[in-house]
């Protein structure tokens, strides 16, 4: 049960949970709300991670080897605790399905317009189910191989794009005061909230207390990449950024070094596929784990393929087209995601702490 991942693996798993999709979507979204100050928006977003750390720390101190689902189930009983766990697992599966659909929509709108969406999604889902069936240590190894390369690619792409960048597009700074930036920073909060999955994995560390530190470092790197990415989009395209569907991809398409280093956006697509693979795997692994813990099942691995099939069907059936998905992401998701991301752990851990002394939960 224990010691399945190292802190470094956990750090590497946390990066794609946010950046896999955020690198492509966030620059355009914050650019729409905060204009040329969009690059500041990601800086404030990790506040939600601080809240998560504050909620999880008491649990780590008292029951370092238990997840909040297990704590909640014991404190609230199998019915209420189990229901909360299933709610969390449902959110997890649902979000994973949305991520999967985003992944497919980007691939089919940029590279594979003729390939049926279902086929693109199916290939990814099979890989995701396979890795999550093999457990957390396999997933950690995957992250160790892929994520450093991905991040090097992203940084290289963004650095190459500085050639055409005109940073005067970032002026004037804060023309309309801090209001738009604050409003825009709610957008990346939705992504950072998904880091609750990494908090869920803390008990899998040899020293669970190292978890928050690893997550904090991950947040710093994520903020740097998102901020830099948003600034580069702005410096390259200025006022056009809100009009672009995927600014980062267009930035990559603009790169031309000495007339021969051009057309390097396939690199970004490689990053997109690999990052999303790890992100989806984290989501899927946690889905299976939370279902197992809520229902007190024996092994999570038997759930891997059924849950993956469910994810695929949801991803295909949930939206008719990409506009509907964007609308849903902008107007529905923010209303419910934070309540699950922060609310469920808060209730479970809070109940555990209140009830814990009476029932001596830690004696395991």
């Amino acid at each position: 049960m224990n010691e399945q991942v190292s802190p470094i693996q956990l750090f590497l798993l946390a990066l794609p949970v946010v950046n896999a999709t955020a690198v492509l979507f966030v620059p355009g979204l914050v650019g729409t709300t905060a204009g040329r100050d969009g690059w500041m928006a990601p800086i404030l977003a990790p506040v939600v991670v601080l809240i998560l750390i504050a909620i999880f720390r008491p649990m780590l101190r008292r029951w370092p080897q238990r997840t909040f689902i297990e704590v909640g189930r014991e404190a609230l009983g199998p019915w209420v605790g189990g229901a909360l766990g299933i709610l969390f697992a449902g959110w997890c599966l649902h979000t994973a399905a949305v991520v999967l659909r985003e992944f497919g929509e980007v691939l089919s709108s940029t590279m594979l317009p003729l390939t049926p969406l279902t086929v693109i999604l199916l290939l990814q889902v099979v890989a995701v189910a396979w890795i999550s069936r093999n457990g957390l240590s396999a997933l950690g190894r995957c992250a160790e191989i892929m994520i450093p390369i991905n991040n090097v690619f992203i940084v290289i792409i963004l650095l190459l794009a500085t050639r055409d960048a005109d940073f005067r597009h970032l002026q004037p700074v804060l023309e309309h005061g801090p209001g738009p930036v604050l409003r825009a920073s709610i957008i990346p909060v939705a992504w950072f909230g998904e880091l609750v999955l990494i908090a869920f994995l803390w008990p899998r560390l040899k020293q669970p207390r190292k978890g928050p530190v690893a997550l904090a470092y991950a947040c710093i790197w994520i903020v740097l990449v998102l901020s830099f990415g948003s600034a580069m989009a702005q410096a390259n395209f200025g006022p056009v950024v809100p009009r672009l569907s995927l600014p980062t991809l267009v930035v990559a398409r603009m790169i031309s070094i000495g007339d021969f280093l051009e057309r390097i956006e396939p690199l970004l697509i490689i990053v997109w596929v690999a990052d999303n693979f790890v992100k989806l795997s984290v989501f899927h692994y946690v889905t299976c784990e939370t279902i197992r813990q809520s229902l007190n099942l024996g092994r999570a691995s038997v759930l891997a393929f059924p849950a993956a099939a469910l994810m695929l069907v949801l991803a295909v059936a949930m939206f008719e087209h990409v506009t509907q998905m964007s609308d849903w992401l902008a107007h529905v998701l923010p209303l419910y995601a934070p309540f699950v991301e922060v609310g469920v752990p808060l209730i479970c851990i809070g109940a555990g702490l209140l009830v814990g002394d009476r029932r001596s939960l830690g004696s395991r």
């Binding site: 709108s109 940029t110 590279m111 594979l112 317009p113 003729l114 390939t115 049926p116 086929v119 290939l123 005109d166 005067r168 597009h169 002026q171 004037p172 023309e175 390259n236 395209f237 200025g238 006022p239 056009v240 009009r243 267009v250 398409r253 603009m254 031309s256």
Partner: protein, 408 residues
């Protein structure tokens, strides 16, 4: 061992999934669009002409020359939209048209005067064209460019892509045009070209049609309003804060004194920098344009001793004055067209946002009355290979020195 075989076999099978069967496109099923021209027909329809790259005709590295002299493979079609014009082109092309390698789009004058927005939409939305596509406006009908034959480059697109190297115009790609179109206080500017009959270099040879840079096309929002002259190009790029790279900037500057011969010199500016600072003059908006340049004298048409510091100082002064005249002329042209291609408004927006918010609504009316003050400072680092140009007899230098040296 069995496991190893099994995993290798599995990997081999999985590899086949990576080929993207549905989206497989064979190179020889695709026709690469190299250049496109868009014109408006008298009936108000779009006439799209595209040059396709004919693989056999484009000379490879070290290949046989002269292949580029073949008539370009151009197809044309008409329609109410760019898309329907494209459809009628495709009726005669046995391959799928591919836009990802397109190098240039040339817009006709009539179409540009109507507004380029609707016609650029296709290139901004369709997934293949890139932001780096060079955008140009041709005086008259854009389709005339097909009559010219590129001599140095394999395709017309390659010629047009190198447009910024031509003296007298500016670089602009799709992304530049979209960015300026969406920004406040700046109007798009695009390279302007024309197709002219060039006098043959060799007396007996027939004259040829040539693509020539004729200056800068100035737009108001997305509508062409006029052309700025050749000197405008450097000025526009300067004030926008971008350097023009490849060709030397040669300025014709009067010498301090002449004695019977032509009192002119050529100064090559090698480093140029410019800053635009909005200020206030007696309560009115004014803009300071500060220019700095470094150069060398590459030609003097009269004897002059460039070893003397005071002569150099005089030349620096004269160069600065010449430059300021160019700046002022260009601004006057743009002001009479009411097209802020320099982005003075944007400069005000960036440095004094509060002030800009009071004037952005009627910037178009204010721009023609904008007061601009020029401050040019030029440093001349020398006279090239010779200080007293060896082409004049010593007697002329002596006579000039007696006559008062470098005084104007």
């Amino acid at each position: 061992m069995k496991r190893v075989f099994a995993s290798v076999a599995l990997l081999a099978v999985l590899l086949h999934l990576l080929t993207g069967c549905w989206d497989r496109i064979e190179v020889n099923d695709v026709a690469y669009v190299n250049t496109a021209t868009l014109d408006l027909t008298p009936e108000g329809r779009v006439r799209l002409a595209i040059q396709l790259v004919v693989p056999a005709a484009s000379p490879g590295p070290g290949g046989s020359g002269g292949a580029g002299r073949q008539p370009p493979y151009v197809m044309a079609g008409e329609g109410d939209t760019v898309g329907s014009a494209l459809r009628s082109v495709q009726e005669a092309v046995p391959r799928r048209l591919f836009w990802g390698h397109m190098q240039a789009v040339v817009l006709g004058e009539d179409l540009a005067r109507q507004g380029i927005g609707p016609y650029l939409s296709f290139f901004a939305r369709q997934r293949e064209p890139r932001g780096r596509v060079t955008m140009l406006i041709c005086r008259g009908e854009a389709g005339r460019i097909w009559a010219s034959r590129p001599a140095l480059e394999a395709t017309l697109g390659e010629v047009l892509r190198e447009m910024p190297t031509f003296v007298g115009t500016i670089p602009a790609n799709l992304s530049d045009v979209l960015t300026t179109l969406n920004d406040q206080g700046i109007d798009p500017a695009m390279p302007a070209i024309d197709v002219v009959e060039a006098a043959a270099a060799v007396p007996e040879a027939p004259s040829e049609l040539q693509i020539r840079a004729i200056g800068v096309a100035a737009l108001q929002q997305d509508r062409l309003v006029g052309f700025l002259g050749r000197d405008a190009a450097r000025v526009v790029m300067w004030i926008r804060g971008r350097q023009l790279r490849p060709t030397p900037h040669l300025l014709q500057v009067p010498l301090p004194s002449g004695n019977g011969r032509k009192p002119l010199a050529t100064v090559e500016l090698r480093y140029e920098d410019m800053d635009v600072r909005p200020t206030t003059e007696q309560g009115r908006l004014a803009v300071d344009v500060l220019t700095y340049g470094e150069g060398v004298i590459v030609e003097t048409m009269a004897p002059i001793d460039l070893a003397k510091p005071e002569v150099i100082r005089q030349m620096e002064h004269n160069t600065a004055q010449t430059l300021v005249r160019q700046l002022a002329d260009t601004l006057e042209q743009a002001q009479s067209l009411r097209s802020d291609v320099f982005g003075f408004g944007r400069a005000i927006h960036r440095t004094q946002p509060a002030r800009w918010s009071t004037m952005k609504r009627n910037w178009r009316e204010r721009f023609p009355d904008l007061v601009v003050r020029y401050h040019a400072s030029i440093r001349i680092s020398g006279g090239g290979k010779t200080n007293k140009a060896a082409v004049f007899p010593p007697a002329e230098y002596r006579r000039q020195e007696k006559g008062g040296g470098g005084g104007p």
